[in-house]
């Protein structure tokens, strides 16, 4: 993978924002898929919950913050909550697998967007669909390699936590816990950050290879792309910084949502509508951040002059 010296982080951000402007319908489609998938899972979970608890007052009391009501529900019907958990876990895992296809399609669309007019929606969709399909298995192999990487990172994290287990166990405040966790998890966090960056650039490299016209029909090299992406990330600070900014954006949006909504009653129809707007706004902002990140990463690898 070739380097692009002199490309500033804010240039990547501008490129990502431009990609979002030009492909807003693609972004909307991806968001809608996520919304429908999560809403479908939530509907199933709500039916399970309602079947057990909608004929009494405990469910609304629990939702209003009554801890005894919540505790009683959890204690007396643990199987209901277990079922809800597995529905959610399954939906999240399924969406994760689907996102290999969606991310592949997005990368393909962004990589080839310079070839066609921005208003050629059908063309964009065809490139999206074909791009996602052709890289799906390669992304799956990359995900398996990532699993190995994450396991190694988890082992290192476990080692750090083990070394400081006494301090962690006896931490009494969030500050004391951070004092103990930061040194324990600094290295694995850094490695995780590095891997996330490398994996993203590896995916772009795989998509780029898949788009080479008349290329031999060979298996897309997931491992080679990943190694190349590690070299890229270790030799340039912009990709790492770019990913860090996205992570901070994600955290900031989530924190802002929590700060605005937690501890307030949000009662009645107005409250429900307000919560709906805030939740979807948070999800949209986070999703937009991911889209802008992808756009910037594609720009980093394809800027003319390479």
């Amino acid at each position: 993978m070739s380097a692009r010296p002199g490309l500033r982080t804010r240039t990547l951000l501008r490129a990502g924002a431009r990609a979002l402007r030009e492909h807003w319908q693609l972004f909307a489609s991806l968001y809608l898929i996520q919304l429908l998938a999560s809403a479908g899972a939530a509907w199933i979970m709500a039916r399970i919950l309602a079947g057990a608890w909608s004929h009494g007052p405990l469910l609304e009391r629990a939702q209003a913050g009554d801890v005894p009501a919540l505790v009683f529900m959890l204690r007396s019907t643990p199987e209901v909550f277990a079922a809800m958990f597995w529905v959610a876990a399954g939906a999240i895992a399924a969406h994760g697998v689907l996102s290999w296809y969606l991310a592949g399609g997005l990368n393909a669309a962004l990589l080839t967007s310079h070839r066609v007019h921005v208003r050629d929606r059908r063309g964009a969709m065809r490139r999206f669909g074909a791009g996602g399909a052709v890289t799906f298995l390669a992304y799956a192999r990359l995900a398996l390699l990532s699993l190995v990487a994450w396991l190694l990172i988890a082992l290192i994290a476990a080692g750090g936590v083990y070394l400081l287990r006494a301090r962690i166990e006896h931490a009494l405040t969030a500050g004391q816990l951070l004092d103990a966790l930061v040194p324990a998890l600094a290295l694995p966090a850094a490695l995780g950050w590095l891997h996330m960056t490398a994996a993203a650039y590896a995916r772009i490299d795989l998509s780029r290879r898949a788009l080479i016209p008349y290329a031999p029909q060979v298996r897309l090299p997931a491992a080679r792309s990943l190694l190349g992406a590690y070299r890229l990330a270790l030799s340039h600070r912009q990709p790492l910084l770019h990913v860090l900014l996205y992570a901070l954006w994600f955290a900031a949006v989530s924190a802002l949502y929590a700060g605005v909504t937690v501890g307030r009653p949000w009662t009645g129809a107005a409250g429900a509508l307000g919560l709906l707007v805030l939740r979807q706004a948070a999800a949209l902002l986070r999703g937009a951040g991911a889209f802008i990140l992808a756009g910037g990463q594609v720009a980093f690898t394809t800027r003319p002059g390479a």
């Binding site: 309602a50 405990l58 959610a88 040194p183 501890g263 999800a283």
Partner: protein, 688 residues
């Protein structure tokens, strides 16, 4: 006054530099920091000599108790070997109506001597959340027992090798009204703390450490000794008296003890001798630790000001302030509700986290240990406060009202638990006394009710001896939770103000005495001026609880009777046309109590037109069901038994409500929340 110690830290942290700009260097630094931050607080240094307290051992007035057993103890703590060597003189007055020939002593520390002790066999080496350390045995060895220089014959009558009871036989019977001075020398090996007393690292919590006389009590003329072996589920019982205790400790250690400090002397060998005096108490405990700091505040009662002190390690300072506020509030509230706190000082020990499981949550006269300091107890989740208030409350229930914990543990634990819940609500708000955190809220007792196994699953009644319970869980469930919830239910029957007044009468009548459960029930009945045996007996003396259930709800439109009427030629048939539906609904609501305990309760009934009605089911005696016939312009849509949740003994929280139609609103709200969280995790886990 005690000032913070000079402390020398040997952490590498001071030497770690964060000025490197290179990522690799920063990572290496992080690794060094990882190892460095597990640092040693360093060697303790000599603490300033404490200034004696300038207060009398009791707040005001004449002696308050029959001072039957008074102790004078000189003890020396060896912090290296974790041992105590001591001499003791006990002055005991025979208040029985017959002569006494034998004096039994509790040697509680021998419970930790070996696995043959009753305590170890029953506890299997565990107590609450703590477990015995592998080599942390403890014991007490009484070297010599004498009266006027004459050694007494000793016997250890404990079953199967248990040595927690020692009998000393007097040379001559002690006549009624006479006093005897018994001298002893004894050595103590402190255990690693897991059951209230012992050491953990540099921390020493020393309770039940001296030979303590049993209690001679009973009907006049047939008094008997109460001095059983130390059981895992039982606590303590002793007579009131005075304590004059001199403690010799290293000059590096901070000490807190029962009573007031009356003298502090520096010794030649880098030790100091601190002398404490306590009056009208029945126990003496103390703490020694080289790292403790102390903060204090004043509680005001009818008898005067009480100095409340919290001893804590530096890293627990945030929690110490919470414990201090809770301690001050508890003393003032308990004093208002019952009788005024009679001593000038309350010391609250906040053990270090590694010792909290073993030493925390215990009460002694004028000194308690608290616990609950945890990452999972931020301000608003009041576990630390509840423990402090509970333990301070024990200075009334069992400190002043010195019931027999070995036979009727519920009388102090459960009654205290109930009053603690009232104090929590008073200090921290009704409905939010226990939890008030980011929209989550809970009062203390409803959380108990919801979070513990059904009360009907407790195998023996509340009013059982502690050692009769088959396991710690059933002991705790009955003694603490069910008792408190029974009193909470009684409150719903007789009214909160009336019950509080009755408890105040009980406290005034039996302060500095040894009340029994019978005394409590008699006082309640007398003060409330009604026969409550129909409730008190099943609640306290039988297995079971309350279990409300909405059995059935039937509604139909009213009409004149339909069918065939008359005989012979006069027979006629009335059909729906002849007896059309009127606009009135006839409904039948059947509610039952499937539990053993009767309890009057409110029943909320709602109709389809939005109107509601409230009925009162008296449910006294053997009445186990109630049927309501209702005529209304709309059918019944909802029935809730005990809508405010005041009958805390109710096990059947999920069955006490009925709705004709499932509520859609709460389901939609839940669905929206679940959608948001699912989508959030999709965004975290997925690639987009």
């Amino acid at each position: 006054m005690i000032s913070p110690p000079r402390r020398t830290f040997h952490c590498l942290q001071r030497h770690a530099s964060t000025r490197s700009g290179k990522p690799a260097g920063a990572l290496a630094l992080a690794l060094a920091g990882t190892l460095a931050l597990a640092c040693d607080p360093g060697q303790p240094t000599a603490r300033p000599l404490p200034v004696p307290d300038s207060v009398s051992p009791r707040l005001s007035g004449a002696p308050r108790s029959p001072r039957i057993a008074s102790y004078r103890i000189d003890a020396r703590l060896d912090t290296e070997d974790r041992t105590i060597t001591a001499r003791q003189r006990l002055r005991w007055i025979n208040r029985a109506e017959h002569p006494v020939e034998m004096l039994p002593f509790h040697l509680y520390m021998n419970a930790f001597k070996n696995e043959q002790s009753v305590f170890m066999r029953e506890s299997r080496g565990g107590h609450r959340t703590a477990r015995r350390g592998e080599d942390g045995w403890g014991w007490i060895d009484v070297q010599e027992v004498s009266v006027d220089g004459t050694p007494l014959r000793l016997r250890y009558p404990g079953p199967d090798g248990d040595e927690t009871v020692m009998e000393a036989f007097l040379a001559a019977p002690l006549e009624p009204g006479e006093a005897v001075d018994v001298d002893m020398r004894f050595d103590v090996q402190l255990p690693e703390v897991f059951a209230r007393t012992g050491y953990k690292g540099d921390f020493f919590m020393i309770g039940q450490w001296f030979p303590k006389l049993g209690v001679l009590a009973g009907a006049p003329g047939s008094e008997t000794w109460h001095c059983p072996p130390f059981h895992a589920n039982s606590e303590f019982f002793a007579d009131f008296g005075t304590y004059h205790v001199s403690l010799t400790v290293p000059d590096t250690h901070v000490v807190a003890a029962t009573g007031v400090l009356i003298r502090a002397v520096v010794n030649q060998d880098d030790t100091r001798t601190l002398t404490y005096r306590a009056e009208d108490v029945h126990d003496f405990a103390w703490m020694a630790d080289p790292h403790m700091k102390m903060i204090q505040a004043t509680a005001t009662t009818e008898l005067g000001d009480v100095e409340v002190r919290v001893y804590h390690r530096p890293r627990q300072e945030a929690f110490a302030r919470r414990h201090l506020r809770a301690g001050v509030g508890a003393i003032e509230a308990f004093s208002r509700m019952l009788v005024p706190y009679p001593w000038p000082i309350m010391s609250i020990i906040d053990p270090p986290p590694e010792a909290a499981g073993g030493a925390g949550g215990m009460e002694y006269p004028t000194l308690v240990t608290t616990a609950g300091d945890s990452l999972f107890a931020p301000p608003g989740i009041r576990v630390p406060e509840s423990i402090t208030i509970h333990e301070v409350g024990h200075n009334w229930f069992q400190g002043i009202l010195a019931s027999n914990e070995t036979e009727e543990a519920w009388l102090d634990e459960g009654v205290n638990q109930y009053v603690e819940s009232l104090v929590m609500e008073e200090l921290y708000g009704a409905g939010t006394g226990f939890i008030d955190w980011y929209g989550l809220r809970s009062a203390p007792l409803p959380l108990f009710q919801a979070g513990t196994p059904p009360l009907s699953s407790l195998p023996i009644p509340i009013a059982s001896a502690p050692h009769a319970f088959p396991d710690g869980g059933s002991y705790a469930g009955a003694t603490y939770g069910k008792t408190a919830m029974a009193l909470g239910t009684l409150e719903s029957i007789v009214g909160a103000d009336a019950l509080r007044e009755a408890l105040r009468t009980y406290a005034r009548r039996f302060q500095f005495a040894h009340p029994t459960g019978t005394d409590l029930f008699a006082t309640l009945t007398g003060s409330l001026d009604q026969d409550l045996s129909w409730f008190l007996h099943p609640a306290f003396h039988e297995v079971g609880a309350v279990a409300y259930d909405v059995r059935s709800v039937h509604c139909r439109k009213q009409h004149e009777a339909r069918g065939v009427f008359g005989r012979g030629a006069e027979r006629r048939t009335v059909s729906a046309q002849g007896a059309p539906d009127t606009g009135v609904w006839a409904c039948e609501v059947l509610i039952v109590n499937l539990g053993r305990v009767p309890a009057p309760v409110d029943v909320h009934i709602a109709f389809a037109d939005g109107t509601t009605t409230r009925q009162r089911w008296q449910a006294a005696g053997d009445q186990r069901w109630q049927r309501y016939h209702l005529e209304h312009t709309a059918p019944v849509t909802e029935v809730i038994i005990d809508p405010e949740g005041r009958v805390l003994l109710n096990d059947n929280l999920g069955k006490r409500a009925w709705r004709r139609d499932a509520a859609a609103g709460p389901t939609r709200r839940a669905g929206a929340r679940l959608q948001h969280w699912t989508q959030t995790f999709m965004q975290i886990v997925g690639l987009l």
